[in-house]
Amino acid sequence: MDSVVRAVLVYALLLGLFRSAGKRTLAHTTTFDLVLVLIISEAISTALGGDDYSLTNAAIIVVTLILLDIALSVVKRQSPRVEALIDGLPLVLFQDGRPRAEHMARERLDIDDILAAARERHGVTRVEDIEEAILERSGEISVILRNRPSSKG
């Protein structure tokens, strides 16, 4: 019984914390993000397992966590409101070739982050080539390039 309760509490705690931290916090953008994930998992593992090192305990915790995730994904599919609450919504950072300054500031992003995404995905280095940039729910930035021949500017 303890194992299930602990797993549910840890799931809720981490969900709340990561949601409050923002999309970009643990999107593996820097090396330190990875280090942070490792440290967090280390810190939480004792709370999750308690002083019970049995195989049964580990199995119950893992099953509970996976089941919670499946249940939540089913609920999210049925209710867009719940999905927005848990996963957030995609956010427009660049529209019609112009940056949305407020959105970028709120998500603690700047033009360099968008340019980095443009370089990685499209090999594009100039701001002028970017038509749209969207901060996805996963924390990744997707970039849509300007179609040069038909573009106005």
Binding site: M1, D2, S3, V4, D51, D52, Y53, S54, L55, T56, N57, A59, I60, V63, T64, I66, L67, I70
Partner: protein, 177 residues
């Protein structure tokens, strides 16, 4: 080159679209649903106490003459502490010493991690280990002795507890790995 590549893509697409793939995918989905149901059952069993501590795991047995009763957990986990609470009826504990024993066969798998209150004397016999306590009984109030135990193996266990040379009690426990 481009044409052959195109043909390759078409072939792959055809393969992926085939009825055999669809049937396989249906099976995978069905198997997944079954697995989810099993996982839900595991979680329910864990909450109920069938896989370790919980409401369905806590049991009490009373000796035939009512001299003492034992609170124990039916389902344990290997390497995780459990307690055996032995409540002795005051009439039986009127003497100034109280002797309780556990079967040696039980203690082969169960490590005694502590006894509360601390015993005055521990005696080892061929089949039994006896703990003797100095007691100060009060009429109407049962005396309680708690054994903190650590299961060091897994599987079924048969426990035997007794009061001095008097009544004995036996019960079964299951230790999950």
């Amino acid at each position: 080159m481009a044409v052959s590549l195109h043909q390759g893509v078409a072939e792959v697409k055809e393969q992926l679209d085939s009825a055999a793939v669809a049937v396989f995918q249906q099976r995978v989905w069905r198997a997944q649903r079954v697995a989810w149901a099993l996982m839900a059952l595991i979680v329910l069993a864990a909450v109920a106490g069938l896989l370790g501590p919980g409401p369905l795991s806590s049991r009490t047995v009373t000796s035939a003459d009512g001299a003492f009763r034992v609170d124990y957990a039916r389902f344990l986990r290997r390497g995780t502490r459990t307690t055996l609470r032995i409540h002795v009826r005051p009439a039986t504990a009127e003497a100034s010493t109280l002797a309780l024993w556990l079967a040696r066969s039980y203690l082969e798998t169960m490590k005694v991690d502590g006894v509360v209150p601390p015993p005055g004397r521990v005696q080892a016999g061929p089949d039994r280990m006896t703990w003797s306590f100095e007691v100060n009984p009060q009429p109407g109030k049962p005396l309680t002795v708690t054994f903190h135990l650590l299961p060091e193996g897994s599987g079924g266990l048969r426990a035997e507890v007794g009061l001095g040379t008097g009544p004995t009690l036996g019960f079964r426990q299951w230790v999950y790995p």
